[in-house]
Subunit: 134 residues, 2 copies
């Protein structure tokens, strides 16, 4: 049975440039991509570590779910993303096992299919399944 | 410059057995280790993914910092652990760069040296540096 991978750890921040400075001070990170994800109304910086990535997300709209998160809880980890080799199958398995899903498959950053498991089914952790980029 | 790795993602839970059931339902995980970490007053289950690990932590004492976290915030991600090849050097670099550290080097689970960067220096994310196990 193939093990799943952590695709990225997403952190909600007020200002992506300021957050980048902190993460670069603490970690050995040089490669950075910034993208505006209109679907989610965020600007993201993807920090490549050896094995996985940290995604810093800044809302660009008052309607962004990230904005709501920041207002309610402040900066911090927003979700954990798991790479699904077969996202339809992995999402179906989670549903069959009684996990509460949020919405349907949709397109996230870098054009990949994504879906979410509700934090209530994952001990408080909003969990994303995302299509493998390979 | 060698990139750092995510060693584990630690999640505070009320009951480690119940949490394990959820994570096994959602993810393809079979290998599990459980350990009592007396220093931190927690029981932990380490879930091996392909690239990194998820640590489910249940407090075993009212004095555990995890107990305090659960009372204040409920279940959820508690900290992010980064593997340091040279923990003294990586911690020193973070300190020189103005990061606020929590405590000094100490022994965490599985006998490895650990130290923490305060969430205020990392946009709300409690960040652990831990010694590489290799």
């Amino acid at each position: 049975m193939k093990k799943l991978r952590i695709d990225h750890i997403a952190i909600a921040v007020n200002n992506v440039e300021e957050a980048l400075k902190n993460y670069q001070k603490a970690l050995n990170i040089d490669h950075i991509e910034i993208e505006v994800v209109q679907n989610e109304k965020v600007r993201v910086a993807m920090l490549d570590l050896e094995d996985t990535r940290i995604e810093l997300m800044e809302p660009i709209s008052e309607e962004s779910p990230i904005k709501k998160f920041l207002v309610e809880r402040g900066e911090g980890i927003h979700h954990l993303a798991i790479t699904a080799d077969n996202i339809e199958k992995d999402a179906a398995r989670a549903t069959e096992n009684g996990m509460k899903m949020i919405g349907t498959l949709r397109t996230g950053s870098f054009g990949r299919k994504i879906t979410f498991i509700h934090p209530k089914s994952m001990n408080g952790v909003l969990t994303e399944f995302c299509e493998s980029s390979k």
